[in-house]
Amino acid sequence: MSKAVYWMQDDCLRPGPGLPSVYVFDTEKLLKEKWSLKRIGFIYECLLELDVEIRKGNPVEQVALFAQSHGASRIITLETPDPRLQSQQKELARGFTLQVELPEPFVELKGRIDLKRFSRYWQRAQGPAMRP
């Protein structure tokens, strides 16, 4: 198998798959969304407990540089609903093999789920959520 690195994103600050790992503070996003220092500090403290290289700048560039520095052609990351991260993933997929893994779900629900209101979702989710 070709060499791989792990891109840790901000909704999965926990131990990854045991590969060389990188986290990138997306400086443009932080500026645009006016992130206060306490938000950045909270994430930073989470990262300090993990085996991960911390970078800042443009995530696409930084992840690519990190992968190259490890001679890796594969990047593993987790699925995210965040459209900005999704488009960054797409960009990286042009130069690398991108492997997007699914995080563990809260409840496993099969088929179409009506999301119009919480009550409709809960009708389906309550059983599996409460089951021992």
């Binding site: 306490k38 300090l48 779900p105 309550q126």
Partner: protein
Amino acid sequence: MRVQFASRNDLEAYLRTMFPDAEGGLSPLRGGNAAANRVLEAFDAGKYAATRNFLNGTVSRLSAYLRHGVLTLAGVRRHLLHKHRNLDRFLKFVQELAWRDYWQRVYAAEPDSIWHSAESLKTGRPESHYAAQLPADIQNANTGLACMDAFVTELKTTGYLHNHARMWFAAYVVHFCRIRWQAGAAFFLSHLLDGDPASNNLSWQWVASTFSSKPYIFNKENLEHYSSGTLCANCPSRKQCPFDATYEDLSERLFPHV
């Protein structure tokens, strides 16, 4: 970036130089798995259902760890199950965890819509009647309303607010001040340690009525009760409290065209 720090002050000073545009300092709430597990161990889930609506009631305070995946919803559920064998007594808490899952699913279904109203307002007014910006007096905790000023101060120093405080504040901004929910949501996201486009924006929409069948409002009696009177007692505006009315009167005043 650096990973060795002599102290938390050292870390804060370093982050200031690396992120010079970021406002304020560190929160007293700490990041990391060790801190997350301490918070999880300290949480008395048995008290949650009966007291969670009170500002001084028992809530988990796990939100920032869940938002950033330090802990997962599935992991917290497993922890409870392991400790208590079954979840029957914790229905309310599991249901609140499910709210997070629900909002994430709504977000994932339409990621690009997260800053758009999902439905039309049920307030009898068009969106154009709502101001686009959050005024400085609100952002600077300078409204003269002890409750709202306390919430903003707490939000800015700790990055956390109790769920009820979030609801009251959002209702104040959207319905009493008639400001677009997006302005309040953006303000929250810059400060909340658990700031999450899904839970945050969709909760703002739930209050605003663009993701619910009616607007959420509160009155003074409700706020005074669930804050155990602490906020109203010394409020400089207590003689002209804008929330001191029945729900019928408030609805008529705020939504005369409904």
